[in-house]
Symmetry: C2
Subunit: 306 residues, 2 copies
């Protein structure tokens, strides 16, 4: 069995070593043009040429949860496309989102400004019931985030394409439920997959429906958000702020207005990092299961896009 590793993200050597250790019987190598036919591939954003040269591939394993970088590719006809599931990402996502929500709700950013001026200031506590958090996308990550928010006793709403039930979360679904979800939400968290149906889903119209003092947390993909609409709604005062980890162009271009906007917190796509150890272990288990003819979880429905 031959397995190719190719990624635009970071160094190959430790990944190759980890895959070889996890799959002792396999030949694991970095792909180069003209290489012999392989069985499986472990990839992040590979070029079309790779798939053109490897039509016999049976498994394509993405090293991230979102497979949007692969949906525009012509993939080998028999290959299953497999997204990364959790692998230590959901707890990172939960702590990232809870940190952002708590920071805004408790006004820790303003307290830091007071403290920088040696001011011991009283701030009237906010009421938790005035800060309902709405999570868009109730997959593995979205569900984990919603549960962490519920643990902190925030009112939590969830929205997904098809109906879901999550304990402690008021769930909405489909186009019919979207308006009600938005109008009941003050802090909006995006954890949707990026597909043609979800691109630009956070725009003037939808963000305008959030409760006054709305807050946006985008930890999915930059293309979910219309940048200018967010800026306009912040200027108009309908939105109070945003925490953004993902952007249309990454790295975020130096001249982009998000960098130093007083009410936008930027992080460099760090909300949930791919952890090599967990990721290799999960992919190795799935390759072995496929080889035994078993079915595996996390296979992407290419029509649906996730």
């Amino acid at each position: 069995m031959r397995i190719y590793y190719l990624s635009t993200n970071g160094k190959a050597a430790p990944w190759l070593a980890a895959l070889r250790e996890a799959l002792p019987g396999a030949e694991v190598m970095e792909w180069q043009a003209g290489a012999p036919p392989g069985d499986h591939a472990v990839v992040w954003a590979p070029p079309q040429q790779f798939f053109d040269e490897q039509p016999q591939l049976r498994g394509i394993f993405n090293t991230g949860a979102g497979v949007d970088a692969l949906l525009g590719r012509q993939l080998p006809p028999k290959a299953v496309l497999v997204r990364l599931e959790d692998a230590g990402m959901s707890v990172q996502m939960a702590e990232y989102v809870c940190h952002a929500v708590v920071r805004h709700f408790r006004e820790f950013d303003r307290i830091e400004e007071d403290v920088a001026q040696r001011r011991w200031a009283y701030r009237r506590p906010n009421e938790r019931d005035d800060f309902p958090v709405g999570v868009m996308g109730l997959g593995v990550l979205g569900t984990r985030v919603a549960q962490a928010l519920a643990h902190f006793e925030f009112p939590v709403l969830g929205w997904s394409r098809s109906p879901r039930e999550v304990p402690g979360v008021r769930c909405f679904s489909g186009g019919a439920g979207f308006d009600d979800f938005l109008r009941a939400t003050r802090m909006l968290v995006c954890l949707l997959p990026l597909t043609p149906a979800t691109e630009n889903i956070m725009n003037r119209d939808t963000l305008g429906k959030l409760r006054p003092g709305g807050y946006v947390i985008n930890v999915a993909r930059g293309a979910h958000l219309v940048d200018e609409d967010l800026l306009a709604l912040l200027d108009e005062g309908h939105l109070a702020g945003a925490t953004l980890d993902v952007f249309r162009t990454e790295p975020l271009p130096p001249q982009h207005p998000f960098w130093q906007h007083p009410r936008i917190s930027v992080t460099p796509h760090t909300s949930a990092r791919t952890l090599r150890h967990e990721t290799v272990a999960q992919i190795a288990r799935k390759i072995q299961a496929l080889e035994r003819g078993e079915s595996i979880a996390g296979v992407v429905d290419r029509l649906r896009g996730y």
Copy 2:
């Protein structure tokens, strides 16, 4: 039944109104010198004169969890001293501590410095197993905090005077367990009651036993921490930082070195605020139970100090 309210903290009018509404049969008033005998008192840091004039009091209800401000007082002989239990404080404490722990673990403060310079920087993720969090004090607040940290999959240790069991938390107790607890802890959270036995418990000796890169979060009382010892261990590099919400003198004096220390985050005693609605409801329930001759929870053992 006559109930006195007296507090050095904030305005009396809304508290009097809320107590009157919750206890319609009672006469609720603010205490003044020479006032007639009362049955119960709802207090924060009252003067000794109050107790001297009211020897017949049967219940003294503290509007905070820590009763250290009352332990130096001569209290009426028949009165039970009752601390506030939870009343919306434990969830606030959990979110405060988790915010501080996650902020340090995920290096969000450093990311903010990068972003202020428009730098899209890569930071190698920390390993969660290298950041065990130790919670001192496993009462209502400490237990809630420990559980929230376990929810984020940190290794969590707990230490208390007498043995406790908390699911998901490695518990130590008493003098015999203290050293092992400290040596296994990297991020130390103090949620102890302030008593003669716990004063100055965070000092050069004990903080020196934390794992290298130790971090201190004090959300209990300022007198738990020896300020100069913390500063020395930060200077020496054994400790990486601290988040402090409580201080020996509050407000923190303008010239105090904590205000603008680059590795200390200061907040103005805001970690868990007394919420009037929840507090009044709890105290009213307990007064009614005492009047019916029932026993109540939260009665302070004055010898033990909490």
